[in-house]
């Protein structure tokens, strides 16, 4: 088992596109790590550069502390599952699983034994003699995983592992994959464009955009405190409310450390905690629909007032759109608590859940670590 270190990595295509643009990253031993971003953000290129299928223009890739930047893909000790699985159509399941061993001239007996055992681990018993075309999508995916596992790589790379499955099967496969990774404890990097998948599976997520890293953190951090408006927009199945606002008062000293203050936004105001901006600063206020609370009477303290426009049923909860002084704000409410359209409502949010972003750069105006000051 091994970690992966990436230092100042850049992959530039002949047409000048910087697919990966100066990246530093460390994936810990045994970690389940997600590369997340919209299509074209460079996440697949990064994965393929780790595998050695693309060559790095600048920087270094280390696997298990060994510099593999210029090493052939087959000699890096990586195993990979491709988006289309890349199962060889002319080989049986068993031949597919043991092809990595055949390449290394492992004896037929050992290969048969490995095929048997790996197939057992991945619930593929009884399918060993089939051809890939005779398998369902989920089975094909497990064969691809089995082949990667049988190759005994130090790290496992997965390119959009669930994207070729239909919606219901995808959930099942997601659970299976997470358990498998946990059981094997193998360092795993996977690429996805689906934020829900990344949140559900990964120990840590790297959110990428245009070849650059926009945030790195645990699913909880990435969800609760997006480092910038790009991540805020990208993460979450209901989009975060991003509203123009102005810091109206701050309570702390003029060092801007550990402040609690009030922002005026959408004709009302919200209290915000732990930000760093002076009074009068133009900011983008970010607050997730899940963190907003809906009240019908008067409340003390900063709040927003508006009329309910529509309510969309999301199952156990509903997304209510509220018109606050011309701005539409989304709020989730538990099922059967939806207010009627037209009702006047009041919105509040805990100060710790209200995030302020720089209007210009879109970066989080975060509390500075005390040691910096």
């Amino acid at each position: 088992m091994a970690g992966i270190d990436i230092e100042g990595l850049a992959t530039v295509y002949p047409n000048g596109v910087r697919a990966v643009d100066g990246l530093d990253l460390h994936v810990a031993d045994g970690e389940f790590f997600a590369l997340l971003g919209p299509s074209g953000c460079g996440k697949t290129t990064l994965l393929r550069t780790i595998a050695g299928l693309e060559s790095a223009t600048e920087g270094k890739v280390r696997i298990d502390a060994a510099d593999v930047t210029r090493t052939e893909p087959g000699k890096r000790g990586v195993a990979m599952v491709f988006q289309d699985y890349a199962l060889f159509p002319h080989m049986s399941v068993s031949e597919n699983i043991t092809y990595p061993l055949k390449v290394r001239r492992v004896s037929a007996a050992t290969r048969a034994e490995t095929a048997e055992r790996t197939a057992g681990e991945l619930s593929l018993d009884g399918l060993l003699e089939r051809k890939p075309a005779q398998l369902s999508g989920g089975q094909q995916q497990r064969v691809a995983l089995a082949r990667a596992i049988a190759s005994r790589g130090k790290v496992l790379l997965l390119d959009e592992p669930l994207s070729n499955l239909d919606a219901r099967l995808r959930l099942e496969a997601r659970t299976f994959l997470k358990k498998l990774q946990r059981d094997l404890g193998i360092t795993t990097v996977f690429v996805t464009h689906d934020q829900a998948e990344a949140l559900a599976l990964a120990d840590r997520i790297a959110v990428m955009e245009s070849g650059k890293l926009r945030q790195l953190g645990s699913p909880r951090e990435v969800f609760a405190r997006p480092a910038n408006t790009f991540v805020a927009n990208f993460i979450g199945s209901t989009p975060m409310n991003l509203l123009p606002g102005t810091v109206s008062s701050t309570s702390g000293s003029d060092t801007y450390v550990d402040e609690v203050g009030v922002v005026s936004v959408a004709g009302g105001s919200l209290s915000a905690a732990t930000f760093s901006a002076p009074a009068g600063a133009e900011v983008t206020v970010g607050v997730r629909p899940e963190y907003l609370t809906l009240a019908s009477g008067d409340v003390s303290g900063p709040s927003l007032r508006g009329q309910v426009v529509v309510a969309e049923n999301l199952g156990t909860q509903s997304l209510v759109s509220v018109d606050c002084d011309g701005t539409l704000i989304g709020v989730t409410v538990p099922e059967e608590n939806e207010p009627e359209p037209g009702t006047t409502v009041v919105l509040t949010a805990p100060a710790s859940r209200v995030l302020l972003y720089d209007r210009e750069s879109g970066e989080l105006l975060a509390r500075q670590p005390a040691t910096v000051a």
Partner: protein
């Protein structure tokens, strides 16, 4: 947990939301060398094919230019030591009544059998067969395809027998014993023959083109009560216009270069069916005038090149 690079590059342009994705199409550059072949070995892979093509296709084509500038002959003094004669072969072609005759006959042949015959019959078949029962369609298509895949000498022999003066099938059918079709009407025979021979290609091309016409558009036409002809003109034709053009160019090129007329008539009687390919053969190997026939070959190559360039341009524009 180790930290990553500061997640905030001071780049105001990139900071703004999902404006990304612009470079998507070009982002995954051309896949380079997935099997790790290396340019050296790749060149080695291509070399044998290129050598053969160079030796037996490119070199002859270029050499035609040189031979066409000499008075090289199959036999005699000029066979041993040909001399340069400049453009005199080309000036000769300008005034050669037999060459003009060959050009005219080739034009008739292409117009009659390819542009009109194969095109129209091929489209008719594709259009009519679209909704016939599969059994009927397969039977008809089998005959049409068979005409296309049989070896040319066999096919030519079939038609020589069909047109024969004494006991040929055509005379039996029409009740005209003793009519020597290949001698009395050689060009008409060739046009019929080549239409029969080559229609399969147009039929297949138009069949696949017709499948690309969205059924919803055909149904819309039916809903508004368009007649069959109106549907064809307003819905189908706009879709297959490109195919008609490329198909016509291709079959014209093949027909103009077809050597089969030689198998039926050898150009006779008295040059009445001597198309350009047959003329080239007769001048070169019967008359022995290799220099002159090379000059004519070169003209044919230039004509082919022009048609092919137009064809490729159309193809590229369509895709």
């Amino acid at each position: 947990m180790t930290t990553a690079s500061p997640p905030a590059p001071a780049d105001p342009v990139q900071g703004r939301g999902p404006a990304d994705g612009g470079g998507r199409a070009g982002a995954r550059g051309p896949a380079r060398d997935v099997a790790g072949l290396g340019v050296g070995r790749a060149l080695g892979f291509v070399a044998p094919a290129l050598l053969l093509i160079g030796a037996f296709l490119v070199f002859p084509a270029i050499w035609t230019i040189y031979i066409g500038l000499t008075n090289y002959r199959l036999t005699g003094v000029e066979a041993v030591s040909p001399s340069m004669v400049g453009l005199s072969n080309y000036t000769k072609a300008l005034n050669d009544a037999l060459f003009h005759n060959a050009l005219w006959l080739t034009l008739l042949f292409v117009l009659g059998s390819a542009i009109i015959g194969q095109n129209i019959l091929g489209f008719t078949l594709a259009w009519v067969m679209r909704r016939t029962r599969p059994a009927v369609r397969r039977t008809v298509e089998a005959f049409v395809l068979l005409a296309w895949i049989l070896p040319s000498t066999v096919v030519a022999y079939l038609w020589v027998a069909f047109f024969d003066r004494d006991g040929g099938t055509l005379n039996n059918i029409l009740g005209t014993p003793g009519t020597a079709w290949l001698i009395d009407y050689p060009m008409a025979c060739l046009v019929f023959f080549n239409t029969w021979r080559g229609t399969a290609f147009s039929m297949m091309l138009y069949s696949s083109a017709l499948q690309a016409v969205p059924p919803s558009q055909l149904e819309s036409a039916r809903m508004v009560g368009a007649s069959g002809w109106q549907t064809l003109r307003d819905v189908v034709f706009p879709h297959i216009r490109g195919h008609v053009l490329t198909n016509t160019l291709l079959i014209s090129l093949w027909t103009a270069n077809d050597f089969s007329p030689f198998l039926l008539t050898k150009g006779g009687p008295n040059h009445e069916s001597e198309t350009v390919p047959v003329y080239i053969y007769n001048v070169a190997l019967q008359g022995g005038e290799l220099g002159y026939s090379s000059a004519i070959s070169f003209l044919l190559l230039i004509a082919n090149l022009l048609v092919s360039l137009i064809y490729l341009r159309l193809l590229r524009r369509r895709s």
